[in-house]
């Protein structure tokens, strides 16, 4: 086991296999893999296989016909949105979906991460400890009223036009939708890691957000079958 040179012997990735990189490696490594791997595998696998077999035989007659394992019910009545972009149009879409889902009686959670934070930073706040964190907040002017379009922003001309059109066609703006979402109990969950990295504190964020959480919380929802969107 200690004979192989661990730094050189590595499992070939799919990419390696496709480009043939494995074949380009020094011959002795390929040889080592061919000669050493099989005995190692057989030495470790064989005994366990022998051990497992009788256990199964003993256990089998005792157990009653197993009930089919209950499938976890998909949580149809919940929605999780991972809000990452912070763009004007995507913030809009996120809030339209969140309010509609809440209006349909669904439990809605919006997980805020990366650029998804600045719409919910208090307008006028200047968060950050280091100059880099401060610059982030300068480049991403905080507040729901100061968002940029991901396309056709044109130094603010795009958002200005969008808001003109929204008024004319009586489309609710992000500010109004955010207020409705929060009034309807949409859970806004800040990502702790982004807060740390961007130098954001709870005081920099608008009131009414949930306790910060992490990726495991998000994945817990996903594992429960909650429909999840990444916007």
């Amino acid at each position: 086991m200690t004979v192989a040179t661990p730094s050189r012997v590595r499992n070939p990735s799919l990419f390696d296999v496709l480009v043939g990189a494995v074949a380009d490696e020094p011959d002795f490594v390929v040889e080592a893999r061919a000669t050493e791997a099989p005995p190692e595998a057989s030495a470790t696998e064989a005994p366990t296989a022998v051990l497992e077999a009788p256990v199964e035989e003993v256990a089998a007659p005792q157990t009653e016909p197993a009930e089919p394992e209950p499938k976890p019910e998909a949580k149809k009545n919940e929605l999780l949105i991972i809000f990452e972009s912070g763009d004007l149009e995507r913030t809009w879409a996120t809030l339209i979906l969140a309010t509609s889902a809440a209006a349909s009686g669904m439990k809605v959670s919006v997980f805020l991460t990366f650029w998804g934070f600045y719409p919910l930073v208090k307008p006028g706040a200047s968060p950050g400890e280091t100059w880099m964190q401060k610059m982030l907040a300068v480049m991403n002017r905080p507040g729901i009223d100061h968002l940029k379009l991901s396309r056709l922003n044109f130094m603010g001309m795009g958002p200005w036009m969008m808001k003109k059109l929204a008024k004319r066609y009586r489309v609710a703006e992000p500010r109004e939708l955010l207020e409705i979402a929060m009034a309807m109990g949409v859970h806004l969950i800040p990502c702790q890691m982004t807060m740390d990295m961007f130098g954001l504190t709870r005081d920099d964020l608008i009131d009414g957000l949930e306790e910060p959480a992490g990726a495991a919380t998000v994945l817990g929802h996903v594992a429960d079958g909650v429909p999840t969107l990444f916007i």
Partner: protein
Amino acid sequence: MTLEIANRLDARGLACPMPIVKTAQAIAGMASGQLLEVLATDPGSVKDFAAWSKTTGHEIVEQGEDAGVFRFVLRRK
């Protein structure tokens, strides 16, 4: 037979998602079995109200259109 409307909501002129959002807010304050009448001009509301009714269980008991105004009568679950 005329239905006894307990509450009325004018959502004319409003775009998605406001007719549904305002309807949900209005119906939340009503008693079970009471009727809510909603007027909307958003053509998308026809499909949206059908879907919303299915999701929430609040039944559409009457539905019609007159000169671009859609009318829904909903029974609180």
